[in-house]
């Protein structure tokens, strides 16, 4: 079985983003970028499926400008076999990304597609579900366990009330949650090897997708700042403040 993993280049999760002074967008100039953490988990899961003999090839795809090849190389260093970049401007909307991915899936015919449940920049949590819809395939979102059994896969999902397990007919789309696995670090030899792994370039034209959007970003503002509070010196003082000042208990 071939596994396709879709990954996104995003701001590093340790960086607190700033809004531009003219409120047109966030400021990403000279900000550290990285592989979206949920996509790292997706790569790890695919590589583990390969190590377990369930998958025989792991293909990684990212959609964006040349700069996201850095993240494809990271995925290759983590164990993916080859990469594909679909060349677009930096941030197409989720629907466009899903349409491009659907075409890549048609070309590659994987048994499973794994994506992160959400990208930590746009916080959308949509692309996997949209891809599944466009392909008319089942989805196992927010996965904390993936168990392949013949032509079916059981996915345990993190839901608001606890955990839910569903069984999906493959090909299936899986999106990762935090507890699915703990991603490994890339070793230096693997980083070197990754440089020689194949990385193909596709264009939306070749895939027959017109990238456009009905969404317009009108403005971006910083959130309301909280006033810094006070330090209390004892539990007694805390209880007194909560009762008489804040009146919340």
């Amino acid at each position: 079985m071939k596994v396709l993993v879709a990954v996104k280049r995003v701001i590093d999760y340790n960086v607190k983003v700033r809004v531009k002074a003219d409120n047109s967008d966030v400021d990403l100039a000279n900000v550290k970028m990285a592989l979206n953490p949920f996509c790292e988990i997706a790569i790890e899961e695919a590589v583990r499926l390969k190590e377990a003999g369930v998958a025989d090839e792991v293909v990684v795809v990212s959609i964006g400008s040349k700069s996201c090849e850095e993240q494809i190389r990271t995925a290759l260093a983590l164990g993916a076999d080859r990469g594909i970049r679909v060349d677009t401007e930096d941030a197409p909307d989720s629907l466009s990304v899903a349409k491009l991915l659907a075409k890549v899936v048609e070309k590659e015919a994987p048994g499973m597609v794994i994506l992160g449940k959400q990208a930590i920049d746009s916080d959308n949590n949509q692309t996997g579900q949209m891809l599944a819809a466009l392909l008319d395939r089942p989805q196992g979102t927010f996965a904390s366990k993936v168990a392949v059994d013949g032509d079916k896969v059981q996915v345990t999902r993190e839901i608001d009330g606890g955990l839910q397990t569903v069984e999906l007919q493959m090909p299936a789309i899986v999106t990762t949650d935090l507890r699915l696995n703990e991603p490994r670090y890339a070793s230096l030899p693997n980083i070197m090897k990754a440089k020689r792994k194949p990385l193909d370039l596709l264009t939306p034209d070749e895939l027959g997708v017109a990238v456009s959007s009905n969404l317009t970003l009108l403005s971006v503002e910083p959130p309301a700042e909280r006033q810094a509070g006070i330090k209390v010196s004892s539990v007694d003082e805390l209880v007194e403040k909560l009762r008489n000042e804040a009146k919340v208990i």
């Binding site: 949209m130 909280r226 209390v232």
Partner: protein
């Protein structure tokens, strides 16, 4: 303009967050229809019909919808969509699973976790773990969105008598099957609806020590939450995670115990009215958002707090 809201329920009870979603629909304006898709869900439909803000309740009661599998429910909603200008659901794991699928079937985008309605086509939503708020205008023919419950006051739940329409369409994709569920049973209020939340982090040390927080919670009628670190370490289950990629809460009082205050955690709780932090490290970033900070060892401070309530 007519708006379709997807009811949040477990086949027995209509979940209160539905009332918050309806409030967002009211802010958009127009007639509101509420879809109850489930199996053996008559009691939910009855409760839905009582909501004065709802003009019509659509009931799809069939085995295919028992577990609200996205493959089936998305097709049901797709079939209904042509009559609506907007389709709304709550930012719960159920609607987050289904609605993007609906959007793609309709060839439109989805707006996730909407926190303010500016007009019928312009909305505010948080991005980058809530460190920026985007105002987005949609030109899509049908606006599909999930709504952050805590950002909208609930509408009245009783006193109405909406028309109830039973749908006979059955959409069963046949590609997915429910296997089982492990649902946490708790007497305490639901995390996203509680007016007081007390959460523990890595500083709790282990799962047993969460009993210290449970005791405080029982005295205050609070819900108990956790940081990702506490969930990852196996102290508590995943449904307790508060944050960017967990649950968003905005109670009157949030007490963070042994939590450092990473941006991903803050994203899920910084809209709380009053924030208390108990942490032994006075430099912990959580103190920058806390109204009342107590620099102390939690193993002394929390039992003392419990004793004094």
């Amino acid at each position: 303009m007519t708006i379709l809201v997807i009811a949040e329920h477990d086949n027995n009870e209509l979940k209160p967050v539905t009332l918050n979603t309806l409030s967002a629909a009211q802010a958009i304006g127009g007639d509101i229809h509420l879809l109850v898709a489930g199996s053996g869900c008559q009691s939910v439909a009855d409760a839905a019909a009582q909501i004065p803000a709802v003009a019509q309740v659509l009931v799809a009661d069939n085995d295919a919808y028992e577990h609200q599998l996205a493959e089936n429910v998305s097709k049901l909603v797709q079939g209904l969509a042509a009559s609506y200008s907007h389709i709304l659901g709550a930012s719960t794991t159920t609607a987050k699973n289904v609605l993007p699928r609906v959007a793609a079937l309709l060839d439109v985008n989805q707006l996730s976790d909407v926190m303010a309605i500016e007009s019928a086509d312009t909305f505010k939503r948080p991005i980058y773990a809530g460190n920026a708020i985007a105002t987005v205008k949609s030109a899509d023919a049908i606006k599909v969105m999930t709504v952050r419950g805590t950002a909208f006051d609930p509408v009245e739940g009783a006193g109405g008598s909406a028309e109830v329409v039973n749908l006979s369409d059955v959409c069963d994709a046949g590609t997915s099957r429910f296997v089982n569920e492990e649902i946490a049973e708790s007497e305490r209020p639901e995390l996203t609806a509680a007016s007081i939340v007390i959460s523990g982090g890595r500083g709790m040390g282990n799962g047993e020590n969460f009993e210290l927080l449970n005791k405080v919670a029982d005295k205050l009628g609070a819900a108990v939450g956790a940081s990702r670190a506490a969930v990852d370490a196996g102290f508590v289950p995943n449904d307790m995670q508060v944050g960017q990629t967990g649950k968003m809460v905005a109670p009157d009082l949030y007490i963070a115990v042994g939590i450092s205050g990473a941006i991903q955690h803050l994203a899920g709780m910084k809209d709380s009215k009053i924030i208390v932090a108990i942490n032994k490290d006075e430099e912990a970033p959580i103190f920058q958002v806390a109204d009342y900070g107590l620099v102390a060892d939690l193993f002394e401070a929390v039992p003392e707090l419990e004793g004094k309530l």
